[in-house]
């Protein structure tokens, strides 16, 4: 297991370099110059433009820029400076990530508890009314686009019932984050539920469950230990990759509810050609994905001891 972990960690290095290089090249291949973009319709003094270019290293070849960027990042944890604001990118990341982590954590909790809960109920009652209702509910969540769901929630809970604030004004306030978190969790929740349902329904007919029941084990133990452990393997895989998606893919949800997190910052940076900010954000997201998938792989052994690492 120790060797497995070490090997996985080593594998991360080429993945890390590859993804950052790709993002870097893609950002710089986009038309549009971040320095000229600062000046808008009115143009600026050539001397100032040249001085800004020099400061940010835009006058150098792209691979040299990439090398310098990576050197600073790896050696000094320095992600560079934003062209427009002149603020260090680490500071921007430090503002954006905690907000999104909070949002993603609430969404993830909702997703796990409700998703697995509904999935188990549906799986145990496969074919019955409860199952049909849950399947319909999840189908609805999957098919309604996020922004429609957001609008429905806002209209119903904020404007008509007045229970919640329509937008997030304070990202520390868990109450305000609740509604966007539910919207963010909705689609994944449906997938988690459906995955759990299938897997539970299938395993219910497995030999080891029959054996457990025949041994006279109480139902709670049969379901809680024997059934769940085996049924959760595909669900855990999905949840693992979903952490990354929740962290990065919340562009729509964040925009809808005025949350100043990672999603909005990514969108902003693309629009303003802030290459350094974008690469920094994506780098952190890549690290989160890598870490999450490592944890998922390690969890397999806990869930099913037959799985061995080579």
């Amino acid at each position: 297991m120790g060797r497995y972990v070490a090997r996985r960690l080593l594998q991360m290095i080429p993945v890390f370099i590859g993804t950052t290089l790709l993002i870097f090249l893609m950002v710089y291949a986009l038309p549009g110059d971040p320095v000229r973009g600062l000046f808008g319709d009115k143009g600026g003094s050539e001397a100032t433009i040249a001085a800004l270019r020099r400061e940010y290293g835009f006058d150098q070849p792209i691979l040299v820029q990439y090398f310098n960027y990576m050197k600073d990042m790896v050696l000094h944890a320095d992600f560079g400076t934003q062209v427009a604001s002149g603020r260090p990118v680490t500071e921007i990341l430090g503002e954006a990530f905690p907000v999104t982590v909070r949002l993603a954590a609430i969404a993830f909790t909702i997703e796990v508890i409700l998703g697995i809960g509904l999935g188990v109920i549906a799986g145990m009652k496969a074919g019955k009314l409860a199952d049909t209702l849950i399947l319909l509910f999840s189908l609805l969540l999957i098919s309604v686009p996020v922004f429609v769901l957001g609008f429905i929630f806002k209209t119903v809970f904020a404007f008509q019932l007045g229970w919640l604030e329509p937008n997030v004004n304070d990202s520390m306030n868990m109450g305000e984050l609740l509604m966007p978190a539910i919207v963010l969790a909705a689609v994944s929740l449906a997938y988690v539920g459906r995955l759990t349902r299938t897997s539970v329904a299938e395993n219910l007919r497995a030999d080891y469950i029959r054996t457990a029941v025949a041994k006279g084990l109480p139902k709670r133990r049969v379901v809680g230990v024997h059934l769940m452990r085996n049924s959760l393997i595909p669900v855990v895989t999905f949840l693992g990759t979903d952490i990354g998606a929740l962290m990065g893919g919340a562009v729509i949800t964040e925009g809808l509810f005025n949350i100043q997190g990672v999603g909005g910052t990514i969108f902003d940076s693309i629009q303003r050609r802030e290459g350094t900010t974008l690469v920094g954000l994506v780098t952190v997201l890549v690290l989160i994905y890598l870490a999450a998938s490592l944890i998922v792989d390690l969890l397999y052994a806990v869930l099913d001891p037959r799985i061995r690492y080579a």
Binding site: L30, P31, G32, D33, P34, R36, G37, L38, F39, G40, D41, K42, G43, G44, S45, E46, A47, T48, A50, A51, L52, A84, S85, G86, R87, I92, E95, A96, T132, L135, L136, L139, L140, S143, V144, V148, F151, I152, K154, T155, V156, A158, F159, Q160, E165, P166, N167, N169, S171, E254, G255, L256, F257, N258, Q260, G264, D268, Q271, R272, R273
Partner: protein
């Protein structure tokens, strides 16, 4: 059966969704939003902004999110009223005899928010610092009129000086500005934020000062929570004419206008600068007399790229023909939902020297005459044009409408040439890669007609991106700039504007409008020429 059931659910969802979009107009402003009710002079109110792009250094702020904050924190020598007339703020007087050397006298007793006095040195040193390319201030070219700029910031080679030779401190409260060529309306430029004074503490760490600015304006800085809000409080020792009638301002950060509008309706933000296109059809009904629909000194045009083969030697009659083929009246009413007003000239409303119908029949919709003019002028080369625009700015719809109008009236094929975003659009313009025509716009820098003519159509003007160059126009600009007085200069520019239909440097489309609104919590919300609310006048109700 499952299929049928889920179809029913989807139908229910669709009904809910439709209901959600249809019932935005529940609460209405009512009549109690006038000037009634007691006012709390110490209460703060909130304004919708985006995160400023730059640190809050006055000479570095070019976009609207930052400049509304810097204007609250810094006062300049002069300011303008709603008609474009000059009023003195930090200056006691700005005088000139030859339009070349200006003598500025400051009002006595002004202090920066840190208690240090505002002196002639505070201005001269700040301008020298900002003009120096070493300090990378985005607006540094604003000092290019002052004598010695070419030495400080040469286009090529190393700078020969670090200070503008045209700026001289006379005594504690007066200094002189010498320009390289006479400009009769130079005093107008001095109202721009770039010309703010800076306290001595600024130079110790300009980057830090950009995060915690110390100004001389009606408000003092409290704090800046990035991407959340900027708070400023009234500066009680302020002696300028625009003392704040409220306790301060919270500049609240919004990523889009839709959410800001929702927050306005639920009372979480007080003043908006703009209404999102989605809410435009309902906002007057929603807000009642708190809905704002006023004019704004900005103009939208389309400009031919005169460096292309197509427009290099074009007869202005052809451009005039294209202009007359555009049905501005209908497009502003339908496609733009009444948020623009058809332009009648090249100079926007609310500035000194604005005149009605300056463009005459060049902007009148007349398909028959348009066709005849194009034919007379030798036709459009290739009989095909494109209009370049940035797809992220909401221009697609009207560009298509303008194209449709031109094609229908004249038979000239016209398509939009979409660039993914503003940056790409600007790059194509700067690199002279525009294929045919491009969308262009101009928001005033200072409220005088020269700003809309000289800075766009002079052969070597900064704002001239179309490559328009005409000796006669240049000569007329030179004559207007050489006028003895401001009034005379304004008049000469008015005459020049009347002549522009003969040259057609661009096709005026429409003037922008301010479509905004405010909450029941505030009153006396007015908007200036730039479309920003006048913060100091806003009154907060108890």
């Amino acid at each position: 059966m499952r299929g049928a059931k889920s179809a029913k659910w989807v139908a229910i969802a669709a009904v809910v969704a439709l209901g959600a979009t249809a019932c935005g107009g529940g609460e209405s402003g009512g009549k109690d939003s006038g000037n009634k009710g007691a006012v709390d002079p110490n209460a703060k109110f909130s304004v919708e902004v985006g995160e400023p792009e730059n640190p809050l250094q006055p000479a570095n702020t070019m976009e609207s999110n930052g400049s509304i904050v810097t204007r609250a924190l810094f006062s300049q020598l002069v300011n303008y009223d709603a008609k474009g007339n000059i009023e003195m703020v930090n200056a006691e007087s700005v005088e000139t005899k030859d339009n070349k050397t200006y003598t500025v006298k400051l009002k006595a007793g002004w202090k920066f928010h840190d208690g240090t006095p505002v002196t002639a040195e505070s201005y001269v040193k700040a301008w020298n610092w900002a003009a120096n390319p070493k300090n990378k201030q985005k607006n540094s070219f604003w000092f290019s009129d002052i004598k010695g700029y070419a030495e400080v910031s040469p286009t090529k080679g190393a700078p020969k000086a670090t200070e503008l030779s045209g700026l001289k401190v006379v005594d504690e409260t007066s200094f002189t500005i010498e320009l390289s060529t006479p400009i009769p309306y130079y005093v107008y430029k001095l109202g721009y934020e770039v010309f703010s004074p800076l306290p001595e503490s600024f130079y110790a760490d300009p980057a830090k000062a950009g995060q915690k600015p110390v100004g001389n304006g009606p408000y003092k800085f409290v704090n800046w929570q990035h991407k959340k809000q900027i708070e400023v409080a009234r500066y009680d020792a302020y002696t300028g004419p625009d003392k704040a009638k409220n306790g301060g301002v919270l500049f609240k950060n919004y990523t889009n206008l839709e959410t800001a509008y929702e927050d306005l309706k639920s009372g979480n933000v007080d003043v908006l600068r703009q209404i999102a296109p989605k809410d435009l059809p309902v906002y007057k009904q929603d807000l009642g007399d708190r809905a704002v629909d006023g004019s704004n000194s900005a103009i939208q045009t389309i400009a031919p790229a005169f460096y292309t083969d197509q427009f290099k030697d074009i007869d202005p009659k052809v451009v005039k023909g294209l202009s007359m083929a555009i049905d501005r009246e209908t497009i502003t009413k339908t496609v733009l939902q009444g948020t623009r007003e058809p332009a009648t000239g090249w100079v926007a409303q609310g500035v000194l020297g604005y005149q009605e119908n300056a463009a005459g029949d060049a902007v009148k919709f007349d398909p028959a005459k348009a066709k005849a003019l194009i034919k007379e002028g030798g036709g459009v080369p290739g009989n095909k044009i494109t209009i370049q625009f940035n797809a992220d700015g909401g221009h697609k719809e009207w560009v298509e409408a303008v194209c449709g109008s031109i094609t229908k009236a004249t038979g000239v094929a016209c398509t939009g040439d979409s660039k993914p975003d503003f940056q790409a659009d600007l790059q194509a313009r700067a690199a002279e890669q525009v294929k045919s025509l491009y969308r262009s716009g101009w928001n005033l820098d200072f409220p005088m007609n020269a700003n809309f003519i000289r800075d766009l159509f002079g052969t070597s003007s900064d704002g001239n991106q179309s490559g328009f160059s005409n000796k006669e126009v240049d000569a007329l600009i030179k004559a207007a700039d050489g006028a003895k007085s401001l009034e005379e200069s304004t008049k000469l520019y008015q005459e020049l504007e009347k002549k522009l239909p003969e040259y057609m440097p661009s096709i005026p489309l429409w003037y922008y409008k301010v479509n905004a609104g405010y909450s029941e919590n505030v009153s006396d919300v007015k908007y200036n020429q730039k479309g920003d609310p006048v913060l100091t006048d806003v009154q907060v109700k108890k």
